[in-house]
């Protein structure tokens, strides 16, 4: 764990309150941050605008052809969440965006109705009146009975925090696309079924009509047609036309996946459950749905056709299908699952999410050590695509290669310089791309921007207009925007604008203020733009050559310029980069805005990529804590040896500890309904992990406060000696085991070697497998055996007796554990303590990594060098270089041993678990 997301909100804001910092400033680590909105005297965690809902939720609405926009359901399905928020009103808002001109019906020049396969559109809009901001994902579903066969729906992620929506746009878009794809897949299936039924009906009707006509013909030998006969013939003709139309529709819907597969951007929905695979396959498999093939009537053999009346019911009489009916039930539930997943994923404050994402992305690259103390669960998960880019800000191709390299290769590269540059430099600016004459739609506030407008202004500060809907980043305007790859999590500071920016950044507050910030165009409208709007296509643009410009590496040597900046500027022309560097050096604070430097922080696709920077202090805090943040772009691993990191780790941990301890809100946090304080499990399945962390942290805190011998116990765990918690009461033992489990290093990429409760006698094999065991003390004869086994294997064990509150284990005289488990710690929250522990453990990991991968510490430098000198060199390194004392050496040695085993272990092979131990005397500790 690299980050401490809880802490980031406390980091200081420099720019806003510049005047206040004129006095001799406190050392950085002691300064109390000023909340940017303090002028309003508001609770820092309160929403800027009093939103009417308690936390983020997902809303599904439909633009019903009968009743207009209507909300269908919310996720979570809890009235408390949406509170007094007017769902109907908001549905109207989000559905009122004319997002697409999808034409369905009879296009001119076409004989048959044509289905338009409309791409979903993704819109961000805000309603300042409601205090709600939403990512809106429009999609259309097919319904035979609907007007034009389409039913427009939308899914909206509604949050009070606009910046969250903006920063997480890519992720939201990805996740919602999955949900949408799932819905649409089910819908296509249902639609095809419906068509087939309809065709059968029509077929049946035709047969009936045909027979009737024949009968009439036979009955009528007068040689002329009766009006009746003519009517019948007309009817028959219309039915036949209808059949052809419907067949065509069926062909179209069936051919859809086939056509789409050619499109590289299309990711067919793959059901996780094999249950419906066959069904889906018939829709998805291109072979099974050849275009132009006649409908297969074998699909629903049991269906009994009905006679279709020539005149269908009036459309307002019939009841429209529900969403569940429109899609398959299976797909509907799948979609709901996905939406629930989205809701869980994006729960919580945006800075938390960002930190989480960054730390996860970074952790993933620590492929050598991350297994030791990290949750195993998320390691396997695929990272959201953006994370790499956000960390590295490079072109995607380059990034992918790099990521691949780095994740595979622990580079034993020691570079102090580049680390420094990434820490000390100040993130600065964006440049304007000059190629376009169009007015930049985005303007950026200067530092002196008022707090009030702070949030809105720097991102989307739109050109004032009296209109209530400000379309900022539609595809049209998108083409004129810069292609900067600046990502949400990159702390790219907006460039100050000339006076215009101030004006521009003030948003018009109008009665009906809906700001459509960006949309993705539908393919049917402008396919070319659509393609180009995908980030992956960016590298194909001509200016990609600029990537090769050596200049973008110049900031590396220049501590005044941020790496992040060159990530941004790499897309710019060389001249601009150069200018940027100069600016960076000369006026880091941008007190004098440069007139040319207008900013257009929008991407080609119209997605606003410039982070709104609502928590700029947080970002800076992150930078300080994330040495590898920018190091990545320099091809360096997070393991770069940084003297400060290693030797100053105590200070770091102290300061973080102090910051945490300042938090007085922990008591109220549980009761707080503010979405900010809602714990944010950023990944599916980690919700439980989050809860576990919290509980484990809390229990661990209690443990270190209650037990004076916590240190040797923790030392046992860290040095790989199995700790047995012995007790009669299962709950108490389990609690202790949970508390201590956070100190247990993983032995491999499996679950933690922790066994919460054992009732039978332990055996040697158990000590290989488990490093922390909860053991039942029983008075039965079996219990005697249990105790006997304990005393027999006592040399491999530390025994914590929960009943008599004693501990029998080796002596510990080191210092690491004291930092890890200070019983006088001021940390009060479990999750904070958990993160504190994680940060110290991460330091240990880095030491272990260094120790493991220093060649000369393990192998002789020259052939003739005796083993003894290697040993002494090794001990010297541990003691002096890594600053370890006494037993701390054993901890690092044990971790190093685990790293070695992990690294040399062949993939796929479990590897024999081995038990390492020392012959050291144990002592009995009592309270």
């Amino acid at each position: 764990m690299i980050s401490a997301p809880d802490v980031v909100a406390f980091t200081r804001e420099e720019e806003l309150e510049d005047d206040l910092y004129r006095e001799p400033p406190l050392p950085e680590e002691y300064s109390v941050p000023l909340f940017p909105f303090s002028g309003q005297g508001a609770n820092p965690w309160a929403k800027v605008a009093g939103s009417k809902f308690t936390r983020d939720f997902i809303l599904i609405s439909e633009f019903s052809e009968q009743v207009g926009p209507q909300p269908l359901l919310t996720i979570p399905d809890d009235a408390k969440v949406s509170g007094t928020f007017d769902l109907n009103y908001f549905s109207l808002r989000i559905m009122s965006v004319d997002y697409q001109a999808s034409f369905v019906g009879h296009p001119p020049g076409s004989a048959y109705p044509k289905l338009n396969f409309v791409e979903d559109s993704k819109v961000v809009l805000g309603d300042s009146k409601e205090g709600a901001f939403a990512y809106v994902h429009h999609l259309t579903l097919y319904d035979l009975e609907a007007r034009g066969f389409v039913r427009p729906f939308c899914m909206a992620y509604i949050s009070a925090d606009e910046h969250k929506i903006m920063q997480q746009f890519q992720e939201l878009s990805t996740e919602f696309s999955k949900a949408s794809e799932c819905l649409k897949t089910g819908n296509r299936k249902a639609f095809a079924n419906e068509l087939e039924k309809k065709l059968k009906d029509l077929d049946y009707t035709r047969t009936v009509l045909h027979n009737e006509t024949e009968q009439q013909k036979k009955a009528n030998d007068k040689g002329y047609y009766t009006t009746q006969a003519i009517e019948k013939a007309n009817e028959l003709a219309s039915v036949e036309k209808s059949i052809i139309e419907h067949q065509d529709l069926l062909r179209q819907i069936r051919s859809y996946p086939y056509r789409k597969l050619k499109d590289s951007e299309f990711h067919p929905y793959e059901p996780e459950c094999a249950l419906d695979q066959a069904d889906v396959g018939s829709n998805q498999d291109p072979a099974a749905s050849e275009p132009g093939e006649t409908p297969l009537y074998t699909h629903l053999p049991s269906y009994t056709p009905k006679l279709i009346k020539a005149k269908s019911a009036k459309c307002f009489d019939k009841k429209l299908k529900t969403l569940e009916e429109l899609c398959d039930v299976y797909f509907f539930t799948q979609t709901l699952d996905q939406l629930h997943h989205i809701e869980r994923t994006f729960r919580g404050d945006v800075c938390y999410l960002l930190t989480e994402q960054i730390s996860r992305a970074l952790l993933k690259q620590q492929s050598v050590t991350n297994f030791l103390f990290e949750d195993v669960a998320f390691m396997d998960e695929k990272p959201p695509e953006k994370q790499y880019r956000s960390c590295q800000g490079l072109g995607q191709d380059v990034v992918d290669e790099k990521c691949m390299d780095e994740s595979l290769a622990p580079k034993v590269v020691i570079s102090l310089g580049s680390y420094k540059s990434s820490v000390e430099c100040v993130p600065i600016k964006m440049e304007q791309e000059m190629e376009d004459s169009e007015e930049p739609k985005m303007s950026v506030m200067s530092e002196h921007q008022e707090n009030l407008d702070y949030l809105d202004a720097d991102i989307k500060g739109s050109i004032s207009s009296g209109e209530s809907i400000e379309v900022l980043g539609t595809e049209k305007s998108g083409s004129g925007l810069t292609k900067s790859e600046s990502q949400a999590s990159l702390p790219v500071m907006p460039s100050p604008q000339a006076g215009r920016s101030k004006v521009g950044s003030r948003r018009t507050v109008s009665e009906d203020s809906i700001e459509v910030l960006s949309t993705c165009p539908s393919e049917s409208l402008i396919p070319e733009d659509f393609k180009a709007s995908y980030p992956s296509a960016i590298n194909e643009e001509p200016y990609v050559d600029d990537n090769e410009g050596g200049l973008r590496f110049t900031p590396r040597a220049n501590p005044g310029v941020d790496d992040g900046q060159d990530d941004v500027s790499k897309q710019e022309s060389l001249v601009q980069v150069d200018a940027a560097c100069c600016i960076g050096k000369e006026s880091p604070n941008f007190l004098e805005p440069l007139p040319e430097l207008g900013q257009k922080p929008c991407e080609e696709d119209g997605v606003v990529r410039i982070p709104p920077q609502p928590y700029r202090p947080a970002e800076q805090g992150l930078r300080g804590g994330f040495p590898s943040h920018d190091g990545l772009s320099g091809g360096l691993l997070p393991y770069e040896l940084d003297s400060r990191y290693l030797s100053g780790s105590r200070e770091v941990s102290k300061s973080s500890l102090d910051e945490c301890s300042d938090s007085t809100s922990y008591i109220s946090s549980a009761a707080s309904t503010c979405s900010d304080r809602t714990p944010s499990p950023a990944h599916l399945g980690s919700a439980a992990g989050e809860r576990h962390r919290k509980r484990a942290g809390q229990n661990a805190l209690r443990f270190i406060r209650q037990y004076p011998f916590a240190h040797p116990a923790i030392y046992s765990l860290l040095s790989g000696r199995t700790l047995v918690v012995l007790g009669e009461d299962e709950a108490m033992v389990k609690k202790l085991v949970t508390a201590l489990s956070i100190f247990v290093p993983n032995c491999g990429a499996y679950s933690k070697p922790v066994k919460h409760w054992v009732t039978s006698a332990l055996h040697l094999v158990d000590f290989q497998k488990w490093k922390l065991i909860g053991l039942q003390r029983a008075v039965s004869p079996a219990g005697v055996n249990v105790l006997h086994a304990l005393s027999r294997y006592s040399r491999y064990l530390s025994i914590l007796d929960a009943d008599s509150k004693t501990l029998r284990c080796p002596l510990y005289k080191g210092t690491v554990v004291a930092r890890l488990a200070d019983h006088r710690t001021q940390i009060k929250r479990g999750s904070t303590y958990f993160m504190h522990v994680q940060s110290i453990l991460t330091q240990l990991c880095s030491k272990a990594f260094l120790f493991t991968f220093c060649h000369h510490l393990h192998l002789p430098i020259s052939e003739r060098e005796p083993e003894e000198s290697v040993v002494s060199r090794r001990m010297n390194f541990l003691k002096h270089q890594l600053g370890l004392a006494n037993e701390d050496i054993k901890i690092v040695q044990y971790l190093a041993e685990l790293l070695k085993l992990h690294y040399i272990q062949e993939p796929g092979q479990g590897g024999n678990p081995l038990l390492r131990f020392d012959y050291v005397p144990s002592f009995l500790y009592k309270i």
Binding site: L764, R792, T852, F853, N912, L915, P921
Partner: protein
């Protein structure tokens, strides 16, 4: 309560700080045999033979073929005409079959099932490229499992131990008797051998429980009631015998309670091993060192373990390893103490061992004759606790470690943690170089 010496948790001289548990057997593991430098086979009551890598603990193969427990196992490297050395192992089982296995492929090469009784011991005469099976009779086989010759039915009890002697002779322990057989090539055929009884030695009062060849001149037998006889390997005469060296009468100072507890079972010579100078005998719970030159016990540890010692082995570095029914393995070192007569001996120190005072007495008694006789004692330098049941046998692999097998169905590989750690480092850097990850910027 126990007079067994304990060492405590601090064992500086104990190199084994890492262990691997090898699981596979489903019953008592009784036999471990070394195949080559890094492989060994294990066999036991489940009738399965496993081959293991002694370095990694990797299971190399499982040999299935016997339906009953394995009673004897012997490695056999057959040198064919092609001079291709194939590592074979011969196993005998209570199902009255003997199977020859190829260790490399794990395949069954030959199987013989014409035995009238269970084969209890197997001996390979590498020199003659034949092997012998001992049950109720003694059979001689060649590498292809052709029966070359056999003796007449000896006893129902069968041969309990076999040892090769010089001049194509074999000593077989049959009950209380020791029978010397001689193998001779028959005059007519080239491939056929004859076996005939040469001598029958009846000096033991009880069943012979162990038989070991010390060198080309001497072999030693031990019996169930604690007799130890040293034989001349050439003319099969008794050179020396130690009838009741365990007896308190030799050591008059021994505590009475030990005397009382001496039962025949506790005096049984379970296992014998030797180096050039001494014979090491596992007698009951104790270990005795018998010097062949001095013809007397020079050191002993009366209660080396909590229960019977099942196997002992001498290591090159003056160390001795013993394993016992109590589930522990102990490492001893034979130390020499130049004892000055006037030196006061802290009794508490020696009391712990149950031997020190006796030795002191003995040395004082012997002082008149040998002023400078060095005094030896066995010092416990380490113990290995891992098995939960009797440790049947162990196999010393030098620096690769120690393999122990036990009635708890497990085999444990004990390893030198330091060495393993540096080996892993070596592997690590090899792999780094291999993967091209090692980009040292100097």
């Amino acid at each position: 309560k126990s007079s067994v010496q304990t060492i405590g948790e601090e064992q500086i001289q104990n190199p084994y700080t890492e262990l691997l548990v090898l699981k596979g057997h489903q019953d008592i593991v009784r036999f471990l045999v070394q195949i080559d430098d890094c492989r060994f086979a294990s066999a036991g009551d489940d009738g399965i033979i496993f081959l293991w890598n002694a370095q990694t603990g990797e299971k190399l193969c499982e040999l299935h073929g016997h339906t009953h427990k394995i009673t004897a196992i012997a490695p056999f490297s057959s040198s064919d005409v092609t001079e291709e050395n194939t590592d074979l192992i011969i196993t005998a089982s209570a199902d009255r079959t003997v199977i020859v296995w190829d260790c490399t492929s794990g395949s069954q090469i030959h199987k013989v099932s014409c035995f009238h009784s269970t084969v209890k011991c197997l001996t390979v005469l590498q020199r003659l490229n034949v092997w012998l099976s001992g049950g109720s009779d003694l059979c001689v086989w060649n590498g292809k499992l052709d029966l070359l010759c056999k003796t007449s039915h000896l006893t129902d009890a069968g041969i309990s131990a076999l040892v090769e002697l010089p001049k194509n002779c074999v000593a077989a322990a049959v009950g209380k008797e020791l029978i010397i057989f001689r193998l001779s090539a028959s005059n007519d055929g080239s491939e056929s051998w004859n076996i005939h009884e040469v001598k029958r030695l009846v000096d033991h009062q009880d069943n012979i429980s162990s038989l070991v060849s010390v060198n080309d001149l001497i072999f030693v037998t031990g019996s169930h009631i604690g007799e130890l006889i040293v034989w001349d390997a050439l003319d099969w005469t008794k050179q020396a015998s130690e009838c009741n060296f365990w007896d308190s009468s030799v050591h008059p100072d021994v505590q009475p309670e030990i005397k009382l507890s001496q039962s025949p079972h506790e005096t049984s010579v379970q296992h014998l091993t030797s180096d050039e100078e001494c014979v090491f005998a596992a007698v009951g719970k104790g270990i005795y060192v018998y010097n062949l030159q001095m013809k007397r016990v020079i050191a002993c540890q009366r209660t080396a373990h909590d229960s019977s010692v099942l196997h002992i082995e001498k290591l090159p570095n003056r160390q001795l390893i013993s394993c016992s029914e109590d589930g522990s393995v102990r490492i001893w070192e034979l130390r020499e103490k130049q004892q000055l007569p006037a030196e006061p001996i802290p009794t508490g120190f020696f009391n712990m061992w149950g031997f020190g005072r006796a030795n002191k007495q003995a040395s004082q008694a012997a002082k008149k004759m040998h002023e400078n006789t060095p005094v030896y004692f066995l010092e416990l330098v380490g113990d290995l606790i891992g098995h939960s049941s009797a440790v049947q046998m162990f196999l010393y692999f030098g620096e690769l470690g120690l393999a122990t097998c036990s009635a708890d169905h497990l085999i444990i590989l004990w390893k030198d943690g330091e060495r393993e750690s540096s080996l892993r480092s070596l592997t690590l850097f090899k792999k780094l170089a291999q993967n091209g990850d090692l980009q040292l910027k100097l």
